[in-house]
């Protein structure tokens, strides 16, 4: 490049500083409000996890160092809860991604009334989680729930959805999947529609079968968006609490208590706020760890573009 003239140089400087101003200006609102809202609670969370603190009797608190953590990590029941949470998250995310991508793929082409169909499909997502929990509890009732009624009317045996630990896991998964698959559908459809038509045509001319096209072209190109959807769903699944409160109440017994549920119980039933904080920190560490791995992978696959 030839030496820029003075005027060009001026323009470049102006462009750079206007760019910097824009970066600063556009990021500040988000940064300020996030820091403001997050800093204190997060720091408190970590701080109090090292204390024998109870929100009820704020005066009588003693520092216990890693005591809370040691107690929690040696609790056999806690590990069961982690396993249960892990199973739940895995099943939910897997189902939602698979179904979401499938339906999103079918919906990418234009057809009459598509936007109305789409709006209807989004409805489960629009309901309040508590309502969803109660609704499924109502539907899955082993005596008068409609699900068992339909099962028995086609000759299948009735299932005690909410009374058996194993079935309860699937009941919760069914409810959560029902509620959140539309989220994936929306993002997947957006991702698939973002692929220019000419690329599809080029692939067809090149002799690719629809399956080949989907796995070698559509999916890889949509990967960044689908990945974001996956990360977001993963994070939200770990936090899931409203659904369990309404659907199972943690039961039968305490078999459907997720880690999040346990945090709530510890904090609001027993008021062991310090211990609850420690548990929450452990959960956070896991979520952050998983997210970091996934985000790094996301950055990696986005590099190609």
């Amino acid at each position: 490049m030839t030496n820029p003239s003075h005027a060009e140089h001026q323009m470049q400087m102006k462009r750079q500083s206007s760019g910097r101003l824009m970066i600063f200006g556009f990021l500040s609102p988000s940064l300020v409000i996030l820091l403001f809202m997050v800093l204190y609670p997060f720091l408190s969370l970590v701080y109090y996890s090292f204390y024998n603190f109870s929100a009820l009797r704020q005066g009588a608190m003693k520092p216990v160092g890693l005591g809370n953590y040691r107690f929690l990590l040696s609790d056999h029941q806690l590990w069961e809860r982690f396993i249960f949470t892990g199973k739940f998250v895995f099943i939910c995310v897997a189902l939602q991604m698979l179904i979401g991508i499938f339906v999103g793929y079918q919906l990418q082409k234009n057809f009459r009334g598509r936007d109305v169909v789409f709006t209807l499909l989004m409805m489960p997502m629009m309901l309040s989680p508590i309502v969803v929990g109660f609704l499924w509890r109502y539907m899955l009732n082993s005596e008068w729930g409609i699900v068992n009624f339909l099962l028995s009317s086609v000759g299948l045996p009735k299932i005690d959805w909410l009374g058996q630990a194993n079935a309860a896991l699937w009941a919760a998964a069914a409810a959560d999947t029902w509620m959140w698959t539309p989220f994936i559908i929306l993002l997947a459809t957006a991702a698939f529609r973002g692929i220019p038509e000419t690329i599809h045509e080029a692939a067809e001319v090149d002799g690719a079968s629809p399956a080949y096209k989907f796995f070698r072209i559509t999916l890889p190109i949509s990967a960044p968006v689908l990945f974001i959807a996956l990360i977001l769903r993963l994070i939200d699944s770990f936090k899931q609490y409203d659904l369990f409160i309404a659907l199972t109440g943690g039961g039968p017994g305490s078999s459907t208590e997720t880690v999040s549920f346990a945090v709530a119980k510890t904090a609001f039933s027993y008021f062991y706020t310090g211990e609850a904080s420690a548990l929450a920190v452990i959960l956070l560490v896991i979520i952050i760890g998983l997210s970091m791995i996934l985000v790094r992978h996301l950055t990696h696959i986005s590099q190609r573009f």
């Binding site: 045509e201 080029a202 080949y212």
Partner: protein, 362 residues
């Protein structure tokens, strides 16, 4: 290598007729260019041959076999699109071998073909890069390589050079023509740029409003246009069109004092005697501005301008602005005489626009 035949092909989108009853045969190994303004149906016809757009009626035949019901992937064609068509998530290498991989070609064969194609296009250094790192010209080269690696029977190109810089375009045009002759693959090329058509085609198919206007070699297109549209679409700068008024013994150019006669410009007798109003078509290169002392018409010259070594001039006859070539040895303002080359006179029916020769309308 295949012969393509279009039989009474009509393509409609709802009420809109994009292609209207088109029939054409493209011979084996021929380089045919579909030329025409935007919306004339050339791209739609191409896409129908490709299998991407369905014909409303009529047939498309490859080597005598009807292919209407075959999908694009079943037709053994290759296509280069106008805009982005390289797979952005794959390297250049993966892009190029994709058609072979998609059809399950064994890897030894793939490597062989890849080497062959890389050699032709000199892409060795680029193989590991991604499409986003390449300029548009190079990308189209890759698209072409990807198309040719399969040794297709038919090569279809949809305005492949329109998004490329002028300078690169000429180079690619030459390479493309050379390559096609070397490989002998039947090629159909769509463009709105008549210079491209003229330089590349064995035959040009000129289309307008869904109809074929003329099918000829570039030479014939240029010298024997079938109507005013064809005459004006081909050639740059475009052909001059001048009203002719019959006078005793000749034809007068509009309202000027220039009269063309069989004596001074070899005007054919039938043109002078014609009872139908005529218009004169004459290309700018056949209209000369000469020094004042050379015989010619005294037509007022509007302006003189030069592009490089070629100098042009403009003049007005019957409210039409015409162009010609300035051939004065002593260029001096706008003075000079205007001469018309008798060899370049083309006569058109003023009402139908069709070209008139002899007794019959062309």
């Amino acid at each position: 290598m295949a012969e393509i035949e279009l039989r009474k092909l009509t393509i409609e989108f709802g009420a809109f007729k994009a292609v209207d009853d088109v029939s054409l045969t493209v011979k084996n190994g021929e380089f045919v260019v579909y030329l025409g303004p935007s919306g004339c149906g050339k791209t739609t016809t191409l896409r129908c041959i490709a299998g991407l757009t369905r014909a409303t009626s009529g047939d498309v035949l490859f080597d005598g076999q009807r292919v209407n019901d075959l999908t694009a992937s079943q037709r053994n064609i290759a296509m280069v699109f106008q805009f982005v068509s390289l797979y952005p998530h794959m390297t250049i290498r993966e892009n190029i071998v994709f058609p072979l991989k998609a059809r399950g070609v064994p890897s030894a064969e793939i490597t062989r073909k890849l080497d062959w194609v890389t050699g032709i296009f000199k892409l060795g250094d680029e193989l590991r890069r991604y499409p986003s790192a390449l300029p548009p010209g190079a990308r189209q080269k890759v698209a072409l390589a990807r198309a040719l690696i399969r040794d297709p029977a038919v090569l279809l190109l949809d305005e492949p050079l329109s998004a490329i810089d002028e300078q690169f375009r000429e180079e690619m045009r030459w390479e493309l023509g050379h390559l096609q002759r070397q490989l002998g693959v039947t090629t159909i090329y769509v463009t709105h740029d008549q210079r491209e058509a003229m330089s590349l085609a064995d035959r040009i198919v000129l289309m307008n409003n869904g109809n074929i206007v003329q099918v000829s070699t570039p030479n014939d297109m240029f010298f024997e246009p079938v109507d005013i549209f064809a005459g004006q679409f081909i050639g740059s700068p475009s052909m001059n069109l001048i009203e002719l008024a019959p006078v005793v013994g000749g034809l007068r150019l509009g309202t000027s004092n220039a009269v063309l006669t069989p004596q001074n410009h070899a005007v054919p007798e039938w043109a002078v005697a014609s009872r139908r109003p005529l218009r004169l078509g004459i290309r700018p290169h056949n209209v000369h501005l000469v020094d004042s002392d050379i015989p010619g018409f005294d037509i007022p010259v509007d302006s003189v301008f030069g592009i490089g070594r070629e100098k042009f001039f403009t003049f007005t006859i019957a409210d039409t602005i015409c162009q010609g070539v300035d051939q004065r040895s002593r260029p001096d303002g706008t003075s000079g005489k205007v001469r018309f080359d008798p060899a370049g006179l083309l006569f058109f029916d003023a009402e139908t626009g069709r070209r008139v020769t002899g007794e019959t309308v062309l």
